[in-house]
Amino acid sequence: MSTGLAAKLTLARAVGALSRLRGGSATSAPGKALLRLEPNAIGELGARLERGSVVISATNGKTTTAAMAASILTAEGLALVHNRAGANMAGGIASTLLQATRPHGAIAGELGLFEVDELWLDRVVTQLHPRAILLGNLFRDQLDRYGELDTIADRWAATVREGSGRAARLVLNADDPLLADLGRERDGEVLYFGVEDDSLALAGMAHAADAKHCRNCGALYVFDAVYLGHLGHYRCPACGRARPTAPELSVIATDVRLEGVKAARFTLRTPAGTAEIALALPGLYNVYNALAAAALATALEVPLERIVAGLQDARAAFGRAESVTIGDPCGPRELRILLVKNPVGANEVLRTLALEPGEHDLLGILNDNIADGRDVSWIWDADFELLAGRVRRVMCAGTRAAELAVRLKYAGIEPALISVQPALAAALGAALADRPETPAGKGTASTDGATPEPPPLYALPTYTAMLALRGLLADGRSSVGEERSALP
């Protein structure tokens, strides 16, 4: 290692330590400092990874897909350098690499696994020269920060066609027309994954769907099946471009069975064979995440049995479908955290929630901080109508709590069931304490006649609200006895 870079690494580490002392987050501060000292640090440190790197980007599911890929690659026996906490801009990736770098300069890991923010993909790929790039989906999200979808698609197209992105193995979602086209517009090998299950097809395209025009000729696509947002089976009636097929499409999910907010099962077909997958994560969106991780692993030539083992072991990523038991003065209660941050993601969470029978207790938390998007319009694109008639109580919290309450009212939820308490701690306390009366025979009474367990409280936070919620839970850990686990 050059003494110059070594000194910069030391200095950047000191910055990180200082940031921690001052109560700041250590996830990206040291990396940012390092990049100021050494703009090519990601390239320099990444080059030390014996087996190179793979990168994952998508609007929804980056963190969960990367966690699933990590589970598979760990089952394969690989030592990973992975930004698992989800710090996915250049600073976060540089921090992860810095943390893995030993004092003598060697790196503690063989393979880099990085989720990357949509707008940072080009810069990270340029430095990292990844072996593989996995692109999962592209949906309408935080228009005030990301801009129009077509703009991101164009940037990604350039990233995979030019420079160091051109040499990477490309793994794409065949069901997303915006992404499938990126494979056609480029030389080199592409592996596609997709869902094939007619029973999942929706009646029509969701309101928030975006990719309606053929990128090639501008005509409107015809969809034979819509699974999620604009993901599905499509063709262009004008120029004939359509969803990729075999042999490029080689990793497929069929026979998908969604089991409420708890789990999902599907049959995974790969070139190496077919296997049954039982996921401890709910919803079609997590089936897509698992399929994406399986496709990436297939591209890296991981054997099928390792893919199966890795997916079965995968648990909820940070704040995504986590389940926490909270010791409240009224007795313990389960809190299930379902991150919602854009219309398509929210729709999938709402669809999954609607699979659970009965009326639910909800805590919706809408923040409008920069990381959430300052513009809260998106809640009007999400189908909260799915909750009408399915809510016992809903508490609205966060900086734009009242706007969420209005959205729910206009979605058809009785105003009498809606409360507003912007302050999160107070809202959480009130929502936990407000439990349905459980007359005998209702609820899950244990055999010894103890008090029946209250139904779970579902928290639907935006990104910064999820961080704040986890912060609250961590602060109270000594008394509330938090237990983090995936949904059972």
């Binding site: 077509d150 309101h207 300052r374 809260v376 009007w380 734009r400 706007e403 309450a405």
Partner: protein, 263 residues
């Protein structure tokens, strides 16, 4: 929710809305605007009829009380600009001439103007109901929370002269800068935010019942008083003739939107 005053409305009254390109021009949750109109009519016993008018369909300028055009990505806006001129130009002018409400939000506002210059070699034609022209500038997009002061029943730009000034709060996100002709009234005065071009201090445009604005977020859930004014205007009655509704959540959301903008 009905009250004695609701009976002031002729029985069987229907608000007939025509949404232009609801599948394409909907980028900033424009559906929320239509939903607010629909629910508030339902709560008051006013029938609500929503008709979509898409690509290639001609628009009937006599059949509806209220025409709505939302925002879209550049690609969608190009498609719609051409289609508007071919299939809907005459109908929209007829509708405006007989006093129907025409509301354009964001991209829809731009297309109600005379023209939208996307770049040095590309200019989209506009319907020309508002005497404004828009140019996509090199500078950054104008993005953020915004609050404006409008005077719907008096001179639009002059609060306090013959009408009560009220606040609209929302979010703006536009690359285009819109210039008003010297004859064209704005919708209101910018209190916080950027407005038409980030410089003039004015936002939106209004000619009779034709209104264009950059405020989305969406506009009407954050400003239900304006939704009611639009409903009344489209029905040709005074806002006071509408039955009052229980609006405590809406009032709080409006206050939060104003606070987000800084007032």
């Amino acid at each position: 929710v009905s009250s004695a005053r609701a009976s002031a409305l002729p029985p069987g009254r229907t608000l007939r809305i025509c949404a232009l390109y609801p599948d394409l021009m909907n980028i900033y949750a424009d559906r929320g605007n239509l939903l607010v109109l629909e629910r508030r009519c339902a709560w008051r016993g006013i029938a609500f009829e929503l008709t979509a008018c898409g690509l290639g369909e001609s628009l009937d300028g006599d059949a509806h009380d209220f025409y709505y055009l939302g925002g879209g990505q550049d690609r969608d806006q190009r498609l719609c600009a051409e289609d508007l001129m071919r299939f809907k130009h005459t109908g929209l002018h007829a509708a405006a001439a007989r006093g129907a409400v025409v509301l354009g939000v964001c991209g829809g506002y731009q297309l109600l103007g005379r023209s939208y210059e996307l770049g040095p070699d590309e200019e989209l034609p506009g319907v020309g109901l508002l005497d404004v022209s828009t140019v996509r500038a090199d500078g950054p997009r104008l993005i953020g929370n915004v609050a404006i002061e409008v005077c719907v029943d008096g001179p639009a730009d002059k609060a306090g002269e013959g009408g009560q000034a009220r606040v609209l709060a929302g979010f703006e996100n536009h690359g285009g800068r819109t210039q008003l002709s010297s004859e064209q009234r704005s919708l209101g005065r910018v209190l916080k935010g950027r407005g038409n071009d980030g410089q003039s201090g004015f936002e939106g445009a209004r000619s009779g019942n034709v209104i264009g604005t950059y405020l989305h977020g969406p506009l009407l859930p954050k400003n239900v008083w304006f939704a009611d004014w639009l409903v009344a205007t489209a029905l040709g009655i005074a806002t006071a003739e509408l039955a009052p509704l229980e609006d405590s959540l809406e009032t709080q959301a409006h206050r939060d939107a104003r606070r987000a903008a800084g007032i």
